[in-house]
């Protein structure tokens, strides 16, 4: 934290207090340091430790036995058998092991004895020796630990956890952050992290140009008119606008939109359409003639038609999303202590009454409609929302996931979140409400988005490279105030808090810039890594299951909606030029011409100056768009259009029902893991085949060769259908899953080494 900021002032006051607290536990801390099975982060201290403790595991009756630790950063559980990996002993350990929970995710600490239970806070005293400790977490996990013997020790560690987790105190937040990221070692380590070449942070000029090139958008350019955040504080420094608008013209448009959030380019459809997003028009402003011209140019790009989609219409406002999530949460976890045996009755009706799935459906429906529009030709589709900072993020990113296979890959998805959420100024800090002081603004819009993605993943499992485990991990990490991704409301804030020395922007990789910023001499606060640096906070086993090995290969030259019989007519494209294009409003599932929508067109005379030689709105064009909207089969290359009927939307059990205290719940065997398994086996068999062929060649060269040619066609067909390590292409992260045979062997002992 920068000195002088309000929060850091509080920290300084409170830190001594915190130190006193840790002193009380110095003895146990010393004792635990000696054990080798648990590795502290450099800035972390163990406060309390007890063993043996049993952690119930999936499957009836089975549980892990081990040690329970409370540190300044987390509650850790170290199982006796299967001690953690020793591979990266020398580097900084993974922040969170599979059995660990960060203090900041804990929402409630409950001590349970056979006769009673108690919710503990920092000040409450525990007058009995608990037999069981239950931790309710913000990410909807519920962790239970059984003490082998309820003793003073079990009471001590329970109280210790209750004392340090303090959910709503900013000071505990920053001490939490410090214990993870504040040490010199971690800072050093972070500064040495290499940049992931596949990551596009959407921070620099080149980042946006890369995206323009990737999508094949030509009529657009990157404008740096906002590079000091003078035009719009919540917008990124660089914004993509039509090529034909000059920066001087552009500057005049900001005032016409709420918060200066002008229509900006997001994505280009291979068929020609472009996706834009904008805040609502400022209607109380006088529209000059040439302003109107610029505004229209901004909306239309080079397209003859522009469809404005009122994203907020019939969609839940953030407050309702929050309310629905609370209802869902109460339903899934139940009230404490009722949750120890949540009633099953009327589960489906209550689920329906939470309306969470309705909201998921409306996001998916709106996004599917927009995807269909985009697939149908030569349009500018503008997503408009009052502030352009909530549902626009959801819809624009869902549209891209449905329409652009790249966004379904792991790097593609991460880039998408960077583009449409992080850089676009989604108010992560306020919506996440880490410090519990902005309850009115709290809203799990991002989690709603993740649920929508999960629904798509359920319906199109082989179209995604990312897996449920990935989404789940992202879901959980979003509750941790540790990542630059989630700690700020916009690029400006993010940059200010990770200030680097030079004032001018250097278009280097944004990530390194962040790190350097954190290490700037004199700044004592921690530097926050982005959540995408998974190696830092996830075990390799978990990272292994982020990718689905068998998703359909990406074909870069794919033509979405390639309908060979009736090629999309181009009748509307000929009315290019500078005339006012056809403005259509997309509302209640249908399209209608809506010139009045643009405030300047109403302002008498403004538009009358146009040479109006274009023809009247073409009914044909309109009906074609309407046809597209009905979601008729769009061919194999069309967008993924989810089924939205009641039975098709499901509750994300793997996420929301993890906490339901069922000891019988079988392990979340996602079928991806199985495909993974199968795929790796095929891979291994290939290897053995190669080996065998080698042997064969020794004996009989001729036959081996003829075999080789026989083999070929099949391998080719295989490559078409499945993405194996061998043909994943070079676009993969350096850690290829299939090369990590040791971990695989451990995971599946049935496989011969």
């Amino acid at each position: 934290m920068l000195t002088g900021s309000k929060t850091s002032f509080k920290i300084k006051q409170l830190v001594p207090d915190f130190k006193d607290k840790t002193l009380n536990f110095s003895n146990t801390a010393l004792r635990s340091r000696e054990t080798s099975d648990f590795k502290c982060l450099p800035g972390e201290r163990v406060l309390q430790r007890t063993q043996p403790v049993r952690k119930p595991r999936a499957g009836r009756g089975s549980s892990l036995t081990g040690a329970l630790l409370c540190t300044t950063f987390r509650v850790a559980f170290v199982p006796e058998e299967g001690v953690a990996k020793t591979e990266d002993r020398d580097s900084v350990p993974v922040f969170l092991g599979e059995h660990d929970v960060a203090l900041a995710s804990i929402e409630r600490v409950v001590a349970v004895s056979p006769s009673r239970w108690k919710v503990l806070s920092a000040r409450s005293s525990l007058r009995f020796h608990p037999e069981e400790l239950v931790l309710f977490c913000r990410d909807l996990q519920v962790l239970r630990f059984h003490f082998e013997k309820s003793s003073a020790e079990s009471a001590e560690i329970t109280s210790a956890i209750a004392r340090v987790y303090q959910p709503s105190v900013p000071a505990s937040l920053s001490s939490f952050q410090r214990s993870a990221l504040g040490s010199v070692e971690v800072k050093q380590y972070l500064s040495n992290r290499g940049a992931d070449p596949q990551m596009n942070w959407f921070e620099g000029l080149q980042d946006w140009e890369r995206e323009l090139a990737r999508t094949g958008a030509t009529a657009w350019r990157v404008s740096s008119v906002n590079d000091r955040f003078e035009m719009a504080t919540s917008l990124p420094k660089f914004n993509v606008v039509p090529q034909r608008i000059l920066d001087t013209e552009l500057k005049r448009t900001f005032a016409h939109f709420t918060e200066g959030r002008i229509p900006r380019w997001c994505w280009h459809h291979p068929e020609g359409s472009d996706l834009l997003r904008a805040a609502s028009f400022q209607s109380n402003i006088y529209h000059e003639k040439h302003d109107a011209r610029n505004l229209e140019a901004l909306l239309f790009g080079r397209h003859p038609q522009c469809v404005i989609v009122e994203v907020g219409e019939d969609m839940p406002p953030p407050s309702e999303i929050q309310a629905a999530h609370s209802r869902l949460r109460a339903l899934c976890l139940g009230d404490i202590p009722a949750s120890l045996s949540v009633s099953d009755e009327k589960w489906l009706s209550s689920l329906e009454a939470s309306r969470w799935l309705d909201h998921v459906r409306s996001c998916l429906r709106r996004s599917a409609e927009v995807s269909c529009l985009l697939a149908e030709g030569d349009l500018a589709v503008v997503l408009q929302e009052a502030e352009d900072r909530d549902l626009n993020c959801v819809v624009s990113s869902l549209v891209q996931i449905m329409s652009d296979p790249h966004c379904r890959t792991l790097p593609g998805f991460q880039n998408l979140v960077q583009k449409e959420w992080v850089s676009a100024g989604f108010r992560f800090l306020h919506r996440n409400n880490y410090t519990r002081d902005r309850d009115k603004e709290e809203s799990p819009v991002f989690l709603l988005f993740l649920d929508c993605v999960w629904q798509l993943l359920q319906q199109f499992p082989s179209h995604f490279e990312i897996t449920e485990v990935f989404l789940l991990t992202l879901h959980d990490r979003a509750h941790l105030p540790l990542y630059s991704t989630f700690l700020f409301n916009c690029q400006r804030e993010r940059g200010r808090n990770t200030q680097h020395l030079s004032q001018s922007y250097t278009p280097v990789n944004g990530w390194q810039e962040l790190v350097n910023g954190g290490l700037a001499p004199g700044s004592g606060g921690p530097s926050f890594p982005p959540v995408w640096d998974w190696a830092l906070h996830c075990t390799p086993e978990r990272r292994d299951s982020f990718r689905n090995p068998s998703n359909t290969p990406l074909s870069p030259g794919a033509v979405p909606n390639g309908n060979s019989e009736t090629p999309p007519s181009r009748e509307l494209s000929d009315c290019s030029g500078s005339g006012p294009g056809l403005v259509l409003l997309f509302s209640k599932g249908s399209l209608g011409p809506a010139p009045h929508l643009l405030p300047w067109r109403n302002a008498g005379g403004a538009a009358s100056g146009w040479k109006n030689h274009r023809r009247a709105p073409s009914r044909d064009g309109l009906s074609r768009l309407e046809r597209a909207l009905k979601g008729q089969p769009l061919g194999p290359r069309g967008p993924l259009l989810p089924l939205l009927l009641g039975p098709c939307l499901r509750v994300w059990r793997g996420c929301y029902l993890r906490g339901a205290l069922q000891t019988q719940v079988p392990p979340p065997v996602s079928s991806h893991l199985h495909v993974d398994f199968l795929a790796s086996e095929v891979e291994r068999l290939r290897g053995r085949l190669a080996l065998a062929k080698g042997l064969d060649r020794h004996g009989n060269c001729k036959r081996a060769e003829s075999r080789g040619t026989n083999q070929k066609p099949r391998q080719e067909t295989t490559n078409h259908n499945f993405l194996f390590a061998g043909n994943r292409g070079t676009g993969c992260s350096p850690e290829r899953r299939y090369t990590q045979t040791p971990t695989r062997g451990q995971k599946h002992p049935k496989l011969p080494p």
Binding site: R60, G61, C332, D344, K346, W347, L348, S349, E352, L357, R361, Q459, F460, P461, S462, H463, S550, L640, L643, L645, G646, P647, C648, R650, V651, R653, L657, A660, Q662, Q664, V665, P666, V669, S671, H674, V675, F677, L678, A679, E681, V682, R684, L685, R688, L689, L691, A692, K693, L695, D696, H698, G699, Q711, R714, T718, N721, F722, K750, L751, P752
Partner: protein, 571 residues
């Protein structure tokens, strides 16, 4: 126009042109309707690709004439109410002779039993390379379980079905039981369904025995021989000095039964026995529940009220009750090492559901394709689940209150388990759906008749084809590629409503908007094929390499044979 495809033995009975199918999803479509003695086949060339509707006659529950106004001259309508959750409707011109003829034929062949015609299974002439009637051999199955042993014997006492006409010829009963005592037990149990062994735990020797309710009656009748019989069952298991009796019924219903001759074991007379009611409602409640489920799934689904509508059918609640009961039984055997006796009223409905589900949880053999077939043949077919009555094969009387979808409910429970343990079953969802389709179809003899005695009399095994012949001739279609043989693993599914799901792929499958979007199974099947091909290739090459190296030299002989060990992994 080409004729409808036919099975060997199937003959066309009537053809009518210009019949209109009123599709609830895509609108009316005109085409040709063919009725054979097995199916109703509608084909329309109005659409591309041609629209085809193929409904086997066995699935028809009733035919109803309906009024259709909005379809022009096609003023007559017929609704075909099916047992498998759909009701296709047709419209046609009233006066035409061909139309009258076709619906006459439909009525006749849809209900052959009521019209003194043979069921189609007796006309079906397809030949399969595998004989499914050989799948279940009771002696082999009991041998697999380690029977007979010193406590249990395979008895031929019912070989003429004289002891109990709804039981199979071979029964496993306690060795020490005397014939005259057995006669008394027979008289004391409803429908003469005495306690017989269904399954024995390979380690603890704890057993699942099944029977019907004791005929206690309002006067609290006792039968010393029955009490002794249960004591013998308990004594056969040295691990426990208790015996648990699971009565599947609701306690109140059991009391009602007691008022009229039936009843339940009194804990004071049956020492060391504990009686538990599983509180499962009767067949009428289940039939009503499925009827409601059909109402909310076909043809229109209310999107906004979908979940509360599913709730209101209570279907999942009953699935939960069944699974809970089966888990308790399995747990009693596995953890409690205690033998259990399961019964309901007659011991052929809920009892079959519970014992077969518990056996599926306890014994991984039943989770293989072959094992599951054996399970159905044994616990359902041979022990006299009254399939003919419960399904109403070929019977026009659709209001018969004896009809009930109990077997569907059982398969649903299996599907729920499959969802919770995706790798534990050798078969896939298609296998279960195929079984349910042929529960109604009357194409195979498997589910026909009510008891083994009736089947023997009808010479079913020689005159009809078994469903397992069809399935086992192409097992790859029905194989789960992720199957791992969790041997000795007991599966305890979570029987909580939040972990149960409506089996949409079965109940809502006629809605075209519900079709799965991704042929994942296709991909997986391809993976399996690639794997087996590669495996074969590896084996082959290793064999060649090792034989060559053996003949040529011995210095590098060890390495090929070492790597030639076949890869035995399963997924």
């Amino acid at each position: 126009m080409e004729e409808a495809p036919r099975f060997p033995g199937e003959s066309i009975k009537a053809i009518a042109k210009d019949v209109m199918y009123i599709c609830p999803f895509t609108g009316a479509v005109s085409g040709t309707l063919t009725v054979t003695d097995y199916k109703l086949y509608f084909k329309s060339l109005e659409r591309e690709p041609p629209f085809i509707l193929d409904v086997n006659l066995g699935v028809i529950s009733r035919l109803e004439t309906i009024g259709v106004q909005s379809h022009g001259e096609n003023s007559c309508g017929m609704e075909i109410v099916c047992k498998d959750m759909r009701n296709p409707r047709f419209a046609y011109k009233q006066e035409e002779q061909s139309k009258l003829e076709i619906f006459e034929n439909l009525t006749k062949h849809a209900f052959p039993v009521s019209n003194n015609l043979p069921l189609f299974a007796f006309l079906y002439k397809e030949k399969f390379p595998v004989d499914g009637w050989k799948v279940y051999d009771p002696v082999a199955e009991y041998k697999r379980q380690g029977l007979p042993n010193e406590s249990w014997t395979i008895s031929k006492v019912n070989s003429n079905y004289e002891l109990c006409d709804s039981y199979p010829a071979l029964l496993v009963i306690p060795t020490s039981i005397k014939d005259e005592d057995l006669r008394r037990v027979v008289a004391f149990r409803a429908k003469h369904r005495i306690p017989v062994l269904s399954w024995i735990h390979p380690e603890s020797q704890a057993t699942i025995t099944r029977c019907s309710q004791p005929l206690v009656g309002p006067s609290d009748k006792r039968c010393k021989e029955d009490e002794k019989y249960l004591q013998t069952i308990m004594d056969a298991n040295a691990q426990s000095h208790k015996l648990t009796i699971f009565d599947a019924r609701q306690n109140s219903v059991a009391d009602t039964n007691k008022a009229k001759e039936g009843g339940y074991e009194s804990e004071s007379f049956y020492t060391n026995a504990e009686l538990t009611f599983l509180e499962i409602p009767n067949i009428h409640v289940m039939r009503e529940s499925l009827r409601k489920l059909k109402e909310i799934t076909y043809p229109v689904i209310d999107e906004a009220k979908w979940l509360s509508n599913v709730d209101s059918t209570h279907w999942l609640e009953y699935i939960r009750l069944l699974l809970t009961g089966a888990v308790r039984i399995a747990d009693k055997l596995e953890s409690g090492k205690t033998s259990v006796v399961v019964h309901c009223s007659d011991g052929w409905d809920r009892t079959a559901q519970l014992t077969s589900l518990a056996m599926l949880m306890l014994d991984s053999y039943y989770r293989t394709i072959k094992g599951f077939e054996v399970l159905i043949e044994k616990e359902w077919i041979s022990f006299g689940h009254r399939f003919a009555v419960r399904v109403g094969h070929g019977d026009v009387n659709h209001t018969n209150s004896e009809r009930s979808p109990l077997f569907v409910q059982f398969i649903d429970c299996v599907w729920q388990m499959m969802r919770q343990f995706p790798a534990a079953f050798e078969f896939n969802e298609l296998f279960l759906i195929t079984i349910l389709d042929h529960l109604y179809s009357c194409l195979f003899g498997t589910f026909l008749y009510n008891s083994e005695q009736e089947r023997v009399k009808a010479e079913l095994h020689t005159k009809t084809v078994s469903l397992w012949s069809y399935i086992n001739s192409q097992p790859e279609e029905f194989t789960n590629p992720f199957y791992v043989n969790y041997e000795n693993h007991v599966l305890y599914p979570v029987a909580s409503l939040r972990h149960l799901e409506l089996w949409v792929d079965y109940y809502v499958r006629w809605n075209p908007r519900m079709r799965p979007q991704m042929p994942v199974h296709q991909n997986l099947k391809e993976l399996l094929v690639i794997r087996s091909e590669l495996q074969k290739k590896v084996d082959e090459l290793h064999r060649e390499a090792s034989t060559r190296s053996l003949s040529s030299s011995s210095d590098r002989g060890s390495s090929p044979s070492h790597s030639a060990t076949p890869v035995h992994t399963t997924v």
